[in-house]
């Protein structure tokens, strides 16, 4: 097992290098380069730009700049924001809890509902329920999430006045858990919709694959009851692709959170990203790209280790 984990960690090193190369490349391909805000500012002269270049070390060869930048990434000095001059890492980190709360609640609801729908669909294949669930999943995957969010605001916030239309707390109610929950419902619903659809599809197909295998027939032949077979015998094998899905789905989750956060004004990383985009805050943008990519690599690693824990065969490959 230890050998597997070490091998798997070594396997992510080229990914981290690749991600950093793409991040660095993007920053330099941007119009105006890393100094976009300065070059586009008419009050700053060409001499000023030259001086800023030297201060930032941009007059050095590209590979030197890359290593300096990569070293900064690893040691936590991610540069400073153009406006306000705050450390980029802090700016990003203070947005993480809000996003994790939103993604966590959406993901847990989606997994419970999606698994239930998927397993029931697999057990009662070609029933009316299965038909409605599979059709409904394609339907849900086709919704533009941001439009679904707008419609949810229109119905539940503007017309019925049941829920707030955006933000995290009412003014003056900061820290109030009930108020937070009320604000959490709509963005969670919007984010969960797509994930439920994906999870139910994956759960259905992975259970279908498992429940027609010989060892399940054996279990049935020796007289075990349906639920016992399903949860004791089928579940561990069917869960493997789903654990892997958890790791793979993370980038989609970030994308979805960005959509939900912009619609509902949720003060998380997605919102920060869109704001940084309008302000041309390249250090923040690049920091966020690297942060999410690193997060994705780590969670894929954890998902793979999780699969290996369940299935000893994986460890040997």
């Amino acid at each position: 097992m230890l050998q597997f984990i070490v091998k798997r960690i070594l396997h992510s090193i080229p990914l981290i290098i690749g991600v950093s190369l793409i991040g660095f490349g993007l920053m330099h391909l941007a119009p105006g380069g890393p100094l976009a805000v300065y070059t586009l500012n008419p009050t700053i002269t060409a001499q000023d730009i030259e001086r800023i270049k030297i201060v930032f070390g941009l007059d050095q060869p590209v590979h030197v700049q890359y290593f300096k930048w990569a070293k900064g990434m690893f040691t936590g000095s991610w540069g400073y924001t153009f406006f306000g001059g705050r450390p980029v890492l802090n700016v990003i980190l203070e947005r993480v809890p809000a996003t994790l709360l939103l993604m966590g609640s959406a993901l847990s609801i989606a997994i419970v509902v999606g698994m239930f729908v998927g397993i029931l669909g697999a057990v009662r294949r070609y029933s009316l329920f299965d038909y409605l669930a599979t059709t409904g999943a394609i339907f849900a995957l086709s919704f533009p999430t941001f439009w679904f969010g707008l419609m949810a605001i229109y119905v539940f916030a503007l017309n019925l006045r049941w829920l707030p239309s955006g933000g995290m707390y009412e003014l003056g109610a900061e820290g109030d858990i009930l108020d937070l929950l009320r604000h959490l419902i709509l963005p969670t619903m919007v984010l969960a919709l797509v994930i439920v659809a994906t999870w139910s599809r994956y759960a259905r197909s992975s259970f279908l694959e498992v429940i027609h295998q010989d060892y399940i027939r054996t279990a049935r032949a020796k007289g075990l009851r349906g639920p016992a077979i399903l949860f004791r015998h089928a579940f561990p094998n069917a869960a493997k692709p789903l654990i892997a899905l958890l790791g793979v789905q993370l980038p989609f989750l970030f994308s979805g959170a960005l959509v939900a956060e912009t619609i509902f004004g949720w003060p998380g990383m997605g919102r920060l990203f869109v704001d940084a985009l309008t302000m041309k805050e390249n250090p923040v943008l690049m920091g966020m790209m690297m942060f999410t990519a690193f997060f994705v690599i780590v969670s894929n690693l954890l998902a793979d280790i999780g699969v290996a824990l369940i299935d000893p065969r994986v460890r040997l490959t």
Partner: protein, 303 residues
């Protein structure tokens, strides 16, 4: 997201014995026609394409014509403006038609970029194998580490937004899945006898890849391509909604939603209509792709 394994409908397995041998495409077509939602999807796709193609004939008004005297007409309020007018008095129906042209064009060009890039990378990685395969697949893995919307928005904010640049950006940030599908298919195909035969006849790498391997790997690519149009339309509407995609006055369903958001509580239909069109389009392509997958699945082959 659309790679859940298809399963076999038992009704399909009981094919009546055919007297005449049928071509493979005949069989595929017959199987496809049985999938009612897919057929409905195909019909809607054809209608949408036709309405986009003939938008200038079908549209009752110029989509950019401003007329402040008739702002915010409701649907069916004035028969000359069937679906009403927006905040600048522009005809909503005409804007929807022209917006559809933009959305479908972006969807199509982005899909071609995605499939083109994915095909070449998948073919080369699968055919040459070894370090080339390793290198290209690590590149695919790396690209997949970034949330697509992040990557898309960053690049879209850097390039001047035109119809072509947006399509290319969408295409170039979403080819990874196609590359993986093609590679898997090629790895399986290249061990087969007909490829060995072609090699024995002295065919070169490019010839084997494009003349021998590609035609045999076309089925899953076709499915992925259809589903990719759906995602591309969705992505375009989203970045246009945020203001980094198609720029006004050119109408796209996404930027129509941006404007409508401001008048949301008073004239909701301005937001409902473009959103409904996006949903309809994306859904039709999704159902079409799903039906194609079921129809083309080699596991269902009857002979």
């Amino acid at each position: 997201m659309h790679s859940a394994a298809p399963d076999i409908d038992p009704r399909l397995a009981e094919e009546p014995a055919q007297a005449l041998p049928q071509s493979q495409w005949r069989i595929v077509l017959r199987r496809f026609l049985r999938h009612r939602l897919a057929v409905a999807g195909a019909v809607v796709v054809v209608l949408l394409c036709a309405s986009a193609l003939f938008a200038d004939v079908l549209a009752p008004h110029d989509p950019t014509l401003l007329e402040t005297k008739r702002r915010f007409l409701g649907p069916l309020e004035n028969m000359a403006f069937l679906l009403g007018t927006d905040e600048l008095g522009r005809d909503t129906l005409s804007r929807l038609l022209y917006g559809g042209r933009v959305s479908l064009a972006v969807g199509l060009v982005a899909m071609l970029t995605t499939v083109g890039t994915g095909l070449v990378i998948g073919l080369v990685a699968g055919y040459y194998g070894r370090w080339i395969d390793d290198l290209l697949m690590r590149f695919v893995d790396t690209m997949l580490c970034f949330p697509q919307v992040f990557l898309l928005l960053v690049v879209a904010a850097f390039v001047p937004p035109t119809l072509l640049s947006i399509s290319l950006v969408i295409g170039l940030t979403s080819w990874m899945e196609v590359a993986r599908i093609v590679r898997a298919e090629i790895l399986h195909l290249k061990e087969q006898d007909f490829v060995q035969a072609a090699r024995a006849l002295g065919a070169g790498g490019a010839r084997i890849m494009f003349k021998e391997l590609l035609p045999n790997a076309i089925a899953p690519v076709l499915v992925a391509a259809t589903l990719r149009v759906a995602t591309a339309v969705l992505m375009e509407s989203y970045i246009s909604f945020l203001g980094y995609g198609i720029q006004p006055p050119l109408a796209s369903w996404g930027n129509m939603l941006t404007n409508a958001q401001g008048y949301f509580d008073t004239v909701p239909f301005l937001a409902i209509l473009p959103g409904a069109m996006i949903t309809l389009t994306v859904m039709s392509f999704n159902f079409l792709g799903d039906g194609l997958r079921d129809a083309l699945d080699p596991r269902l082959k009857m002979d």
